[in-house]
């Protein structure tokens, strides 16, 4: 799967997250008066929203790589990060909303305050994949994507609320935009901050592409690696490591005497990769290229 298609799927996952979160949150709103206070109510809403978005976005990597283990781990991590991020983000957003609407009489203050709240929520949700991958860089652009998507989605929700106050689907459209825009901005920023793409050329993963959007990418047959090479010969559990230093990508072998070639020549030490290099890990061949 190309990085482009994978990014489209991330956007679709955002839309699905919005579709799923909408009825659940509409249902939760029915029980507002049963809650003892706004704090717990905000936590509950944030937890529900964050878990749903975290589940969908967290499952993305496993879904595109058809890796069951990665799928479950990603979804669970995404749900946990989403749970925490949703609770923090939503409660902070509600705090901002209360803070602003009780301090200004401007007519645009309430929708703007809500949009800021949505942006904070988006920030938390957008960071989930970066936290799962233990990547500060991914977390950073995920957060930025989340803020932008959350802000624009939030503005859309508020606009639709104001424009069509009785419309049932107003919040749904807003949720779709919220989830979808987080996916769009995540994808755009991932592309913008990517140092290149590694494309599998043969075997079971032929055609799959990995974006260099984090500073370390490990390769091996063990499921804990970032690139898991299953079904290839002579691939060790942890075979090689890509490192990004100042926009340059270096490749080094892990352990002794693994089959690691670049342009059919063995790799010794940390080798600086250039675009169009052909990397061979065991029987797996990969092509290193720039983002298109």
């Amino acid at each position: 799967m190309s990085t482009g298609l994978r990014r489209v799927i991330v956007v679709v996952l955002g839309l699905l997250a919005g579709v799923t979160a909408w009825p659940l949150l509409e249902l939760l709103l029915l029980f507002q008066e049963s809650f003892p206070g706004y704090f717990l109510f905000s936590l509950a809403q944030g937890a529900l929203f964050g878990v749903v978005l975290g589940l969908f976005f967290g499952s993305g990597e496993g879904l595109t790589s058809k890796d069951g283990g990665k799928l479950v781990r990603g979804a669970m991590t995404g749900a946990l990060v989403g749970l925490a991020g949703g609770m923090i983000g939503f409660t902070a957003g509600q705090g901002v909303l209360f803070f602003i609407i009780q301090r200004t009489s401007r007519s645009f203050a309430v929708p703007l305050a809500r949009a800021v709240g949505w942006a904070i929520l988006g920030l938390s949700v957008g960071m989930a994949e970066g936290i799962r991958a233990k990547s500060g860089k991914k977390s950073a652009f995920g957060a930025l994507g989340g803020v932008l998507g959350g802000l624009l989605g939030g503005i859309a929700i508020e606009y639709l609320r104001g424009r069509f106050p009785g419309m049932l689907y107003g919040r749904l459209v807003g949720f779709l935009l919220f989830g979808g825009l987080i996916g769009v901005f995540y994808a755009l920023l991932e592309r913008r901050f990517s140092f290149g793409v590694l494309r599998l050329l043969n075997g079971t993963l032929r055609g799959k592409e990995y974006s260099f959007s984090q500073s370390r990418i490990s390769v091996g047959s063990d499921p804990k690696n970032d690139i898991v090479l299953k079904g290839y010969d002579n691939v060790r559990s942890r075979h090689a490591l890509f490192r990004v230093k100042r926009r340059d990508v270096y490749l080094s072998a892990v352990g002794e005497d693994p089959t690691l070639l670049v342009n059919e020549e063995p790799v010794t030490g940390g080798l600086l990769l250039k675009y169009e290099d052909v990397v061979q890990v065991g029987s797996a061949k990969m092509f290193f290229k720039g983002e298109t």
């Binding site: 799967m1 996952l13 709103l29 075997g203 052909v278 061949k285």
Partner: protein, 484 residues
């Protein structure tokens, strides 16, 4: 009943009524502070209780206060708990005060509305003296007092007068306006002035001193206002902004003319309106405002949960010193949540969207995102600059597959990176040893042609995933699926 008995009864009745009247109370919610709502579910009300003569009533027992809430302003329910009632909370905590002084042209007339050149006789002189008296007499280090003036526009002279001694210098900044600046934009000034004080914590008050009615620039100069354009603020705009920001307006009419709406605006914000005809009365009014604010109660209670954008709160006062139950006041605060209010009735069918989304997610999981090859193929990964290819994928079905620049080639590369007529050929050998289906060999080569970035001269056997580069066009040799 004889005549004497009737007289006695009437006397007693009048005496009782007189007593009741003397003790009649007015309850006003001067400010609602819902800032602790999220973290502690608490709302603070600043409540003013005055007797029939407008004097603050002190030492009211907490049990006399009852608080109710409502989502619609009609059906009120008692709150679960009044957590505290604090008398005179501002003595310790201070007040956020904005003094807003009229500096329109008429403030430079005498108190009776006659033009004068004698500074001592001008209304503005009396007003400035009253401000000095107010700040000097009531200065509390915990207070934060700002001073602004208005005419056609609003000027903030000092956001925090830290020292009463600095006041003279600040007041000198208020100068007689030119004709275009001399209009009385009272409502715009009130709306604009609520912003700086409304964003502060604690008890917030605007005291406006004006000698005339709202006299907008746009209406009377017949041209757009430099800042407000053709927009006119209404009394409703003023009330709405003060109520939303939780700011109380005290209005002082200074001079024989007055704005007919100003009093009502002040009352709706929890404040009051006064008339002053001279400097002594002005100073007395400022002291009275201060006394009223100092005499307020802060009633804190545990708020309820209502699915509405606004929650109405009502305070009722019962049985204070034998008075009839009269004191009751209602205000609202914003309790809007991020998602807003629920849909009523709830459309349960929307829950079906959840399994629908899960089905789509599952389809994304099971769909195969790549083409499976039963035969070997050439896949173009990227073309060189200014170069085109006849096809992105060529399935190798023949014994020989030609890649070249001519039209007869099976994969034609044209443009700047085009090779010569027949550049390379992929030859299939059925008896080859590299797999059950035979082997493929690249034949040809020369400068600008590589396999896995290694030069090709003569011929070379290909294996799955080998990258052939022909003058910048990158092609992958893909074996049939099942071979790694």
């Amino acid at each position: 009943m004889n005549r004497n008995s009737f007289t006695v009864c009437l006397t007693i009745l009048l005496a009782v009524l007189g007593t009741v009247s003397a003790f009649a109370q007015t309850v006003t919610i001067a400010q609602v502070d819902a800032s602790p709502l999220l973290l502690s579910q608490t709302v603070d009300l600043y409540v003013s209780v005055t007797d029939g003569e407008g004097n603050p009533i002190a030492r009211i027992a907490p049990k006399n206060f009852s608080v109710f809430e409502s989502s619609d302003g009609e059906d009120f329910v008692p709150v679960s708990k009044v957590t505290s009632v604090v008398e005179s909370p501002h003595k310790k905590e201070g007040i956020q005060i904005l003094l807003l002084v009229d500096n329109s042209g008429s403030m430079y007339d005498t108190l009776w509305g006659k033009p004068t050149d004698d500074t001592e006789l001008m209304r503005t002189t009396y007003a400035r003296n009253a401000i000095r008296t107010f700040i000097g007499a009531s200065f509390n280090p915990e207070d934060r007092i700002a001073l602004a003036s208005f005419n056609t526009s609003v000027t903030v002279h000092d956001e925090n007068i830290a020292d009463p001694a600095a006041l003279n210098g600040i007041l000198k900044e208020i100068r007689r306006p030119e004709q275009k600046e001399a209009y009385t934009e009272l409502y715009h000034a009130l709306v604009e002035s609520v912003e700086p004080v409304g964003s502060r914590q604690g008890r917030r008050v605007v005291v406006v001193l004006s000698d005339g009615e709202n006299y907008p620039y746009y209406t009377h100069a017949k041209e757009a206002h430099p800042k407000y354009g053709t927009t006119l603020s209404t009394p409703e705009d003023v009330v709405d902004s003060y109520q939303r920001d939780g700011v109380t307006l005290y209005a002082i009419n200074f001079g024989p003319e007055r704005d007919r709406n100003l009093g009502n605006i002040a009352l709706q914000t929890g404040g009051n309106v006064y008339d002053a005809r001279n400097e002594a009365e002005l100073a007395g009014i400022y002291r009275d405002i201060r006394r009223k604010i100092d005499g307020e109660y802060r009633v804190s209670y545990r708020a309820g949960m209502f699915a509405s954008d606004r929650t109405f709160v009502k305070v009722a006062l019962r049985g204070v010193r034998g008075a009839r139950m009269k004191g009751e006041a209602t205000r609202f605060y914003y309790s809007s949540t991020m998602f807003g209010i629920p849909v009523d009735p709830f459309p349960y069918w929307i829950l079906l969207m959840i399994p629908g989304a899960i089905v789509i997610w599952f389809l994304l999981l099971v769909i195969r995102y790549r083409k499976f090859h039963e035969r070997a193929a050439l896949q173009v990964l990227q073309t060189g600059y200014g170069t085109k290819v006849s096809s992105n994928t060529v399935v190798l079905t023949q014994e020989k597959t030609v890649i070249g620049g001519g039209e007869r080639a099976d994969l034609t590369i044209s443009g700047r990176g085009a090779p010569r007529e027949e550049e390379v050929t992929i030859v299939f050998d059925e008896k080859g040893k590299s797999g059950e289906g035979g082997s493929y060999t690249i034949v040809g080569g020369g400068p600008g042609i590589t396999v896995n970035n290694q030069p090709v001269t003569g011929k070379r056997r290909l294996s799955g995933g080998d990258v052939v580069n022909i003058h910048g066009t990158t092609i992958v040799f893909e074996e049939p699926d099942g071979k790694a």
